[in-house]
Amino acid sequence: MATLVATGVSGYLSVTRVLGENAVCGPSHGCETVASSEYAVILGIPVAFLGLAFLLVLVALAATWWRGADRRALLAAYGMLLLGTLFVAYLTYLELFVIEAICVWCVAFAISIVVSLVIAGVAMGRSSRPAAM
C-alpha cells in the first residue's frame, strides 16, 4: 500500500513535469521551487521519472512475492528499498539545506519509501521464521 502511495505521488509529479505545469502545493510554493531547481534533473532525466520507474519495478516485485510467495522477489524489493531510502535521504538533505524549500509531495514520497522498507523488513522476518512443528 505504501509503495502504491509512492507510485501515485511520483506518477503525479511525472505528469505535471510532462505537462510543464506546477504541482498543486498549497501556499508555500515549495514544490515549484524544488521542481525548478537544478537538482530536479539527473543526467537529463527528471527525478520524478526516475522515481516512477523505480516504483514500477518495486510494485512488480511486490506483486511477484504476493502472488507466488517467492522470497527472492521480497529480498530484491528489500534491497531496492534500502537503495531508495538512501536516495530519498539525499534528496531530503537537498531540500532542507541546499534548495531551502520543502515540497510536500517529496516528503510524502520519502515517507512512503521508508514505510515500505519497514514493511518489507517485517515481511522478511516473518517469512524466515520456521513454521510451527
Partner: protein, 354 residues
C-alpha cells in the same frame, strides 16, 4: 542363503548411527561402542536384493516383523522429513539460491545506494563545492537582440517579463520556456520580448539588487541576454551568498563581459537608481508581488506556464489582431503593446496562477 561382509568408516559415531539412504544396519545397534573406526558386519540374505529398489531413507534395516505397508509408510515419512529439512535450510539461508539472501541483499542495497548517492552528489554539488560556473549554452540570433529586448521593434505582439534573478521559477522560464517561444514566435517577427529585472526577493540583502544592477551594466556592453542566462543558470539559493558582488562579477566575466568595466559600472549610482525605479514601478503601478509576472498584449499572467500554454495564448492574441485588422472599421495601427488602456476584462480565463 548368501553371506556378505560390509565395512564402513565411522568418523562421527552419532551421525553415522543413522546413515540416511543406505540399507546398512544401524551402527548403534551393531556396535554399541560409539567410537570412530572401521566397522564390519556380516549380512545374510535369503535372495539377491532386487534391482532398482529404493532404499529406505530411515536407514533402519527392515525387520521381518514389519509389513510392506509399514515400510512404505516409514519411507514416505523419511522422504517428507528430508524435504522439510531441506526447505528449512533454504529458508534460513534466505532464499532459493546461494546469492540472494538477507545479508547479501542488505549489503548490496546499501552499497549500491551509497554509490549512486555519491556519484549524483558529486555531479550535482561538485560545481557548488569547487565554485565552477555552468554555461547556459543558449544563443539567440544576434540581429534579434536589442538591449533587454529580443525581437523586431515592429512585431505585432509584445511580451513584458518582470523577473527577479534569485527566483528559480524565473530561471526556468528564462532557460527552458523562453527559448521555445523565441524559436516559434520571435524569429519570424511575430513577437518581441522585453525583460525587466526587479528586486523582490532580496529581503534586506543585496542579492537580488546586485545582479539586477549588473544586468544594467551588461546592457551597457550589449550583452544583456548572455549575462542574464549565465546568472539564472548559476543561481545558488536565495539570500545565501550566491549573488554576492564578487560572485556576480565572476559570472559576468564567464559570460564574456569586460570584467573591469563591469566592476566599475556595478559601483556607480545610475544603474542602482534604474533598478530602484523599475522595482518601484513594478510593485506600485503594476501591483507585482510575485515573479515571474508577464504581460502579453497587456494581459497580466503570474507564475510559470509551459511553452505550449504560451503558444496557445500568443495564437489567441494573434487571432484577435487578425480579426480586428480584417474588420472594416478597425484602425490600421492597432497596438498590442501593454498599456494602461488595455482592457483587463478581456483577459483569458486561463491566466494568473500565483
Amino acid at each position: 542363503m548368501r553371506h556378505s561382509i560390509i565395512c564402513w568408516n565411522v568418523v562421527h559415531p552419532v551421525r553415522a548411527a543413522r546413515p540416511v539412504g543406505t540399507n546398512v544396519p544401524s551402527v548403534r545397534r551393531a556396535h554399541p561402542a560409539r567410537l570412530p573406526g572401521r566397522f564390519c558386519a556380516t549380512m545374510q540374505a535369503s535372495r539377491a536384493p532386487p534391482r532398482n529398489r529404493r532404499p529406505p531413507l530411515s536407514g533402519k534395516q527392515p525387520t521381518t516383523q514389519t509389513t510392506r505397508r509399514e515400510r512404505r509408510a516409514a519411507e514416505r515419512k523419511d522422504r517428507f522429513e528430508a524435504a522439510r529439512d531441506e526447505r528449512k535450510t533454504r529458508s534460513n539461508s534466505g532464499g532459493g539460491s546461494s546469492f540472494i539472501n538477507t545479508r547479501n541483499m542488505t549489503i548490496l542495497g546499501v552499497a549500491v545506494g551509497v554509490l549512486i548517492v555519491l556519484v549524483v552528489a558529486v555531479g550535482q554539488l561538485g560545481n557548488k563545492a569547487t565554485g565552477r560556473l555552468k554555461d547556459p549554452a543558449i544563443a539567440y540570433r544576434a540581429e534579434l537582440l536589442d538591449g533587454t529586448s529580443i525581437g523586431k521593434a515592429d512585431a505585432p505582439l509584445t511580451m513584458e517579463v518582470y523577473s527577479d534573478f534569485q527566483c528559480p521559477v524565473c530561471a526556468r522560464h528564462s532557460l527552458d520556456i523562453e527559448p521555445t517561444i523565441v524559436a516559434k514566435y520571435v524569429n519570424d517577427g511575430t513577437l518581441r520580448i522585453t525583460h525587466h529585472d526587479i528586486d523582490l526577493l532580496g529581503r534586506g540583502t543585496d542579492e537580488s539588487k546586485t545582479p539586477a544592477i549588473g544586468a544594467v551594466c551588461a546592457n551597457d556592453q550589449d550583452k544583456y541576454l548572455q549575462y542574464s542566462h549565465w546568472i539564472y543558470n548559476n543561481q545558488d539559493g536565495e539570500n545565501t551568498g550566491g549573488f554576492r558582488k564578487e560572485r556576480v562579477i565572476s559570472i559576468a566575466a564567464a559570460a564574456g563581459l569586460d570584467e573591469v568595466a563591469f566592476t566599475t559600472c556595478l559601483g556607480t549610482q545610475p544603474p542602482a537608481d534604474e533598478v530602484a525605479a523599475t522595482t518601484a514601478k513594478a510593485t506600485g503601478e503594476l501591483a507585482i508581488d510575485s515573479t515571474p509576472t508577464i504581460f502579453l498584449a497587456g494581459q497580466k499572467y503570474v507564475g510559470l506556464k509551459s511553452a505550449s500554454d504560451w503558444g496557445q495564448l500568443i495564437d489567441a492574441e494573434l487571432a484577435k489582431l487578425n480579426a480586428s485588422s480584417a474588420a472594416p472599421s478597425a484602425s490600421a495601427g492597432a497596438s498590442a503593446a501593454p498599456s494602461a488602456s488595455a482592457d483587463p476584462s478581456a483577459a483569458p480565463s486561463a491566466s494568473t496562477t500565483p
